[in-house]
Amino acid sequence: MLYAVLSGFLLAALVPLVHRSAGQFTGWLLALLPAALTVYFASFVPLISGGEVLGQQWTWFPGMDIHLGFTLDGLSLLFALLISFIGTFVLIYAGGYLKGHPDLGRFYIVMLSFMASMLGLVLSDNLVALFVFWELTSITSYLLIGFNHESEKARKCALQGLFVSVIGGFFLLVGIMLLGIYGGSFSIVELLNSSEDWFSAAPLTLLILCILGGTFTKSAQFPFHFWLPNAMAAPTPVSAYLHSATMVKAGVYLMARLNPMFGEEMLWTVMLTLFGGVTMFVGAWLAYTHTDAKKVLAYSTVMALGTLTMLIGIGTEYAMIAFAAFLLGHSLYKGALFMVAGSIDHEAGTKDLTKLGGMRSLMPWTAGAALLAALSLAGVPPLFGFIGKELMLEAVLSAGPLQGLVVALAVVSAMMTAAIAAVVALKPFYGPRVETPKQPHEAPLAMLAGPVVLAAVSLLFGLLPGVPETLLVTAAVTAVAGMPLDFYLSLWHGFNLPLLLSVVGLTGGAILYRYWDRTREPLERLMTRLDRFAPETGYFRALDGIIWLCDWQTRILQNGKMGNYMIVLVMTTVVIVGYTLAAQHGIQFTLDWQDINFYELAIVALLMVTAVYATTTRSRLGAVATMGVLGFMVALIFILFSAPDLGITQVLVETLTVILLVLVLFRLPGFARYSTLFEILRDGFVAVSFGALMTVLILATLDARMFEPISSYFVEAAYPEALGRNIVNVILVDFRSLDTLGELFVLGIAALGVYSMLKLRAEKLND
């Protein structure tokens, strides 16, 4: 499975080569990979539907309990199949849709990387690995929304999507860490199999809220739903793939994945049911008020995501079955509908539904696919969408405490969804012919394959519900519910309440469609007036706030005055280190004034005098000369105290330093005095505090010998092992030679820096 995931990244790297040689057939060629993956994953179907769970592990960071583990159970398999199956057609479709686009190569690269990340996400067993893939999908999504990077709108929308999902990702990371710390493992399988004793010790509310923060933003739940319609700035194949069938379902996937663990928690069920229900309604409502085909579909995706979340929240047997069936159905018809919308846009030059009509005879295949997919969306028998909706209604009727609310929301949403389906599928193709910017004709084969196949599968699964049930749905339901459930899918459940609600929904939908032209506009006006309260306004407010905050703190902290930075740094050090020292060590030191020779005293005194002289003199030459004296005093100290190598080095370096200063410093102006008396006193205070701190620190260090010096090994091994008598040199070139090598490179970089700075100037002067 590792190779299945990696193959996408690998092929992405090879895209430039393929693209150069295969030209316009690149899409077909690249689609072979997801097609092969579909077959590969399909080969697991018999095993998995038999109740098996496959797992594979590769060690990644063993020290941190992070592995590249993959698990294939019913839920992963369902997702993996959807990703690779729909991916196949999306790649083919993209070849037609973006034909001749100069950046098509880049598009394929990101698309394949996305596919691989998404596969990694749904197959990962380790939560940390899952998070890595999760963020990868956010990044690839960002790149794809902003694919038309020359359009400012696309860039903005891409950034919005990224911000929302990355902030969510941050919360998810916190949630995952809490889960790992308190649950004792990062492996999903282990967490699900472990007893839930740790719940009582863990900050469960925080944990659940953090995880939901990640999943809600990713899956565009209210109030974070606004980024998804804006993501429609992406080319249509992206919308069809990422923003309806796969990526936005990642959040839903994770909630379904963790449901067996949290399914009993009140907070979890209520949050999911409530927010899911509200999202479902808001999505349907907004979809109804829009006219841009892609926006309508995007909002209806929000509706579907809300439905899925709500179903997980309800958590009954029916809800689980409904979840799996609805998920499968939605991915199929929504992928198809998006591709149809893209084809309309591509062929007719507009995707505004009020400006389209009567194209059925011109694009018969597209119209047919659209009709089938829309029937599935509306939930009309005998399509698979009907089964999903029927089960959903059945589930909300058993929703427990929130039953009244969710039933009402579900029925209204169902009505509006039916109306939307009709608007999307009927408006462009039936009725009187409306003039369009381009003369439409049937979409090319590449752009037909996807919608037709996906719509046909919707019909096939509807007519033969046993096929998806035995192959996919049963195992997925087992994974979500945490135990096997006994059920079967069928179109006909007899005359019951769900059927009645279904009929109500469809009838209501038909009426709403009939009056769409008239009701839509007042509703849209109402929504514009409500904009002030929309969550998206909050997003922009927050963005402005962050910019304001950065502006403010930059002016305070980064004012460009080096003196201020230094004072802040030094005083922070003094206060923090000084406090710690006083608290931990006290201010008692052993002072030893006996062990000093008179010439040593003289040298050290001269050292201090030169330093003070250098700071007080107004003569530049005087300061440089004192630097020489200071250096030689230091060298003397080294030599007196058993460090001949240091002494020699210090003397040599001191000579070179003076040469350097002579070469450069005397071409700069002399010592200028810019400071006021206040500044001198202030800086003096800072300097004295720092000096005092260092003195105290050294005295404290001398008192506290906590460990044996580690150099005894170097001393003992220097001759027997390293064949050297000068231990310092042996350490430099043998024991710690890697450090020395690094230091040599630092020297080299400094020298090259000097060289380039001077060279650059020479060239400028020559100009």
Binding site: A672, A692, V728
Partner: protein, 115 residues
């Protein structure tokens, strides 16, 4: 001896910080030099100072005779001296270049130049 050194090093650090806080860029260079010397002495002093016992192994012996000065801090300081020289060379030339471009040696005015 270490006690005395602790005071000397404190004086050096104080002088270095004071010089680095000056607005005249030339004084900054002097501050840097004092600072690197102070840091080297600090490492040298806290490891304990020994008279007349350099870390050398006499000819024909496997181990040094008696106690010797700790060689590890010496190795650290040795490279630190050379590195400090490299860094000093870099910063001196950088400062010189900056002076040529913005034509002021006042650090506070440098921030207002757009070059």
């Amino acid at each position: 001896m270490e006690t005395l050194m602790a005071y000397a090093i404190g004086v050096l650090f104080g002088c270095a910080v004071y010089m680095m806080l000056r607005r005249s860029i030339v004084k900054l260079v002097i501050g840097l030099i004092i600072l690197s010397n102070a840091a080297n002495l600090l490492i040298f002093a806290v490891s304990g100072m020994t008279r007349g016992a350099p870390p050398l192994i006499p000819e024909g012996m496997q181990l040094p005779e008696g106690a010797i000065a700790d060689p590890l801090p010496q190795a650290l300081v040795l490279t630190a001296i050379v590195i400090a020289f490299g860094v000093l060379a870099f910063s001196v030339v950088l400062i010189h270049r900056a002076f040529e471009v913005v034509e002021t040696d006042d650090l506070d005015q440098m921030k207002d130049t757009d070059t």
